[in-house]
């Protein structure tokens, strides 16, 4: 591998600084409230320097979310490896997600706001790590079908409904202060409801 040039290193450092400032401001002021100007100021650089690295605010936000969701997918995969049976495995995965975001709920809130927006929502929702999370759920259901635990009916629909159900509990954490345990209890019931029709034993 070629050693990175000094310029490439400097550019990388700038990106890291911008991303960490942006993460803080999005958490404090929300997606709408954080401006590129504020982010540049917080990172101690010019607006131009920010734009040299990111095309716009949505690009910056997406980069943060994609990094996080990549880490989240790793955490979920690891949690799934301890699961026994499909319900337990899914629950462990979702609990890993709630644990992952419990200290950064304001950022999750900003992500939901962007995720529902007609302009930036589709790109965020179809980002590669989101596909990985979906695939991870499908993987668990497919495994359960192979073990004879579940029937194969509506597998893809069940998987996306499980993912939506997992996401739909975040507002309880964001606005009602639900603990990870409360989210987990809710999630357990949701998984049971959504798998009920496919249960074989």
């Amino acid at each position: 591998m070629k050693a990175p040039t000094r310029r490439a290193l400097a550019k990388q450092q700038t990106r890291v600084k911008v991303l960490s400032a942006a993460r803080r401001l999005f958490s404090e002021a929300g997606y709408e409230g954080a401006t590129i100007r504020d982010i540049a100021a917080a990172a101690g650089m010019s607006t131009g320097a920010v734009f040299a690295n990111f095309s716009d605010k949505s690009d910056l936000f997406r980069e943060i979310m994609i990094t996080d969701m990549g880490d989240l997918a790793d955490a979920m995969r690891e949690a799934a490896s301890y699961g026994k049976g499909v319900e337990d495995t899914l629950l462990r995965m979702f609990a890993a997600g709630y644990n992952f975001y419990k200290t950064q709920l304001p950022l999750a809130r900003a992500a939901f706001s962007v995720g529902w927006s007609p302009q930036d929502g589709p790109a965020l929702r179809s980002a590669a790590p989101v596909q990985v999370l979906n695939a991870l759920i499908i993987e668990q259901l497919t495994g359960a079908v192979e073990r004879g635990e579940l029937g194969p009916e509506d597998l893809a629909l069940r998987a996306s409904m499980l993912f939506e159900a997992y996401l739909s509990n975040y507002p309880q954490a964001i606005f009602e202060g639900w603990t990870v345990e409360a989210l987990q209890d809710r999630s357990r019931d949701q998984i049971r409801i959504l798998l009920a029709g496919a249960r074989r034993r």
Binding site: Q119, G121, D154, L157, S168, I193
Partner: protein, 229 residues
């Protein structure tokens, strides 16, 4: 793009025109001021509905709403505290029509719980399908930082939840809903499915029959979970 900072600064500006004039209301021509205020309010609502429906929640600014309504930013703020509150009012005006229709139809619905849930949501989609972006704006607004407590974004509106609850209660009485099922959880799952279908709609330009078909499958799957065993 309007930042929260922009909004709060216009908010301060908006305070000025709101200052009450010295003439007491009772002495003026009856309701003249009220009528004027009502007209402004209606124009703001109409302009806002258009903008939210085309630009989404985030893409709509108070300034643009004022411009399209032909009123000053200040007079928008004499009636509404925030963008979120305007959207709540837009949705409430629209949904009043929908719920009036549902109040009329629901008592006459026959069939099992699954049928009645499907019909109830189909009525929603028939009503909302041409304004899916407006509905998405309604959902997105729930996460707005500047949201005031007087706004009622999606999910905090209790009417749909109440209607679903009644359908489930009837189902328990009729024996096709397991009495041990947690109503609130089932309601929340149905609401999550409902919101998700709107996302498909807005991003894929799906029409009402398509939305209804997707929702029907999801309701079917949730119904398997609340069936007595």
């Amino acid at each position: 793009m309007t930042s929260a900072r922009d909004l709060s600064s216009t908010d301060e500006l908006g305070g000025a025109p709101a200052a009450p004039s010295s003439a007491p209301l009772a002495d003026g021509p009856p309701g003249a001021r009220q009528t004027q205020k009502e007209a402004t309010r209606n124009r703001v609502i109409a302009a806002a509905r258009n903008l939210f429906d085309t630009q989404g929640y985030e893409g709509t600014t108070i300034r643009e709403i004022a411009r399209q309504a032909g009123v000053s930013v200040g007079s928008v703020f004499t009636t509404f505290a925030s963008k979120g509150e305007i959207l709540s009012q837009v949705m409430q005006d629209r949904l009043d029509g929908l719920y009036a229709e549902l109040d009329r139809v629901m008592p006459h619905l026959r069939g099992d719980t699954l049928d009645r849930l499907r019909t109830m949501f189909a009525i929603h989609f028939a009503f909302e399908a041409r304004h899916t972006r407006l509905f998405l704006a309604h959902i997105a607004a729930a996460y707005d930082w500047t949201l005031s407590s007087s706004a009622t974004p999606m999910g905090r509106n209790q009417r749909l939840q109440g209607i679903i609850g009644e359908i489930l209660a009837k189902g328990v009485a009729a024996g096709d809903v397991d009495p041990a099922v947690d109503f609130q959880e089932t309601v929340d799952l149905l609401m999550a499915a409902y919101a998700w279908v709107y996302r498909l709609a807005a991003w894929n330009n799906a029409d009402a029959p398509t939305l209804t078909a997707v929702m029907d499958r999801q309701i079917g799957l949730i119904a398997e979970g609340f069936a007595p065993r």
